[in-house]
């Protein structure tokens, strides 16, 4: 069973509590249609468990097949450095069909971030090392496609459906109780 090699920490983008009884980690690619499909499902799972679930998103862009995935990941990290990671993350997935460089700049503007600064960060590859380090940590943890989920450090190999994710998390919470 593949296990998460990089523990969840304060360096991560976490929704909810990183020390919640259950922590779901997603390795995702903003241009991957399966990740786009999983996006609203994760939201429902988060709503279902409330405070008992923390959620972490890490980058795993498949650049050879998704040419805009890297720029999207770096844009989300740029937004994160300016306190708007989740707004950007959500904005990209909610507009995945029109993902492009102009769309990323437009999203930044809508979030009150500087388009010029984002453009400069993408050109200088300011956030490339952060994205790469997520990617390598994922490869070493047995990420085998996108999205790959880990629940409290163990790879979840089931289909990323609402029912299956909830069942796996329920099982884990039951063990803890």
């Amino acid at each position: 069973m593949a296990e998460l090699k990089i523990a969840v920490s304060s360096k991560d983008h976490v929704q909810g509590d990183e020390h919640a009884p259950a922590v779901l980690v997603e390795y995702g690619d903003y241009q991957c249609p399966h990740c786009g499909h999983a996006y609203p499902i994760v939201k429902r799972v988060q709503k279902h468990f409330g405070k008992r679930l923390g959620f972490v998103f890490r980058n795993f862009p498949l650049n050879e097949i998704h040419p805009n995935a890297e720029a999207a990941a770096e844009s989300a990290e740029f937004a994160g450095a300016n306190g708007k990671f989740w707004e950007m993350h959500d904005g990209i997935f909610e507009n995945q069909g029109s993902l492009s460089l102009p769309m990323l700049l437009e999203l930044a503007k809508e979030l009150g971030l500087s388009e010029t600064d984002l453009g400069a960060a993408l050109t200088s590859r300011e956030f490339a090392s952060r994205v790469k380090s997520d990617f390598i940590g994922g490869a070493r943890s047995g990420v085998n496609g996108t999205p790959t989920f880990f629940i409290n450090g163990e790879r979840f190999d089931g289909p990323p459906d609402f029912e299956d994710l909830v069942a796996a998390i329920d099982e884990l919470l039951a063990e803890k109780d």
Partner: protein, 155 residues
């Protein structure tokens, strides 16, 4: 599930087509680690399939000086189109004639179905198998086992 050649055995040499007019022998790569990734078939209908994943991780494999070879029973023309479509930057070998002969030598052939197992081998620079792993055919094994095996190779 077939019985894979296990660590410690000498990796059997082979020569297979890598393009319609080029062949590659394992022995040509002696002196550097080699990753053999046997897989069932080109064109599995998911994004981030096993070969696409390894393609993205290639630079990590290369840090260990390792060569990655994908092997399936698909023919050279099929491999060529698949590699082009997925922008693969490593060779795919055609274990096509006699079909599956190399996979059989490695214990990585599924007789009833006539395809390769999803089997991984890391071969050290002296040509000995350092690590092998057979994944259930429907499960993409990822790259964690390969990376760990490369890390544990004697320098």
């Amino acid at each position: 599930m077939a019985q894979l050649l296990s660590p410690g055995s000498l990796a059997p040499d082979f020569t297979l087509h890598v393009t319609p007019d080029q062949k590659l022998s394992l022995s040509e790569l002696s002196g550097r680690p080699v990753i053999l990734a046997f897989y069932p078939a080109d064109w599995s209908p998911v994004c981030g399939d096993q070969m696409a994943l390894y393609n993205e991780i290639l630079s990590e494999f290369q840090k260990y000086g390792a060569e990655l070879l994908g092997i399936s029973v698909d023919g050279v023309w099929c491999h060529e189109e698949f590699a082009k479509d997925r922008h693969l930057h490593f060779p795919l070998l055609a274990d096509f004639e006699p079909k599956g002969a190399v996979a059989k030598k490695y214990g990585a052939y599924r007789d009833g179905e006539g395809i390769c197992e999803r089997a991984l081998f890391v071969i050290d620079k002296k040509g000995k198998i350092a690590w092998s792993y057979c994944s259930p055919v429907a499960v993409n094994p990822g790259a964690d086992g390969i990376l760990q095996a490369l890390e544990e190779l004697p320098k």
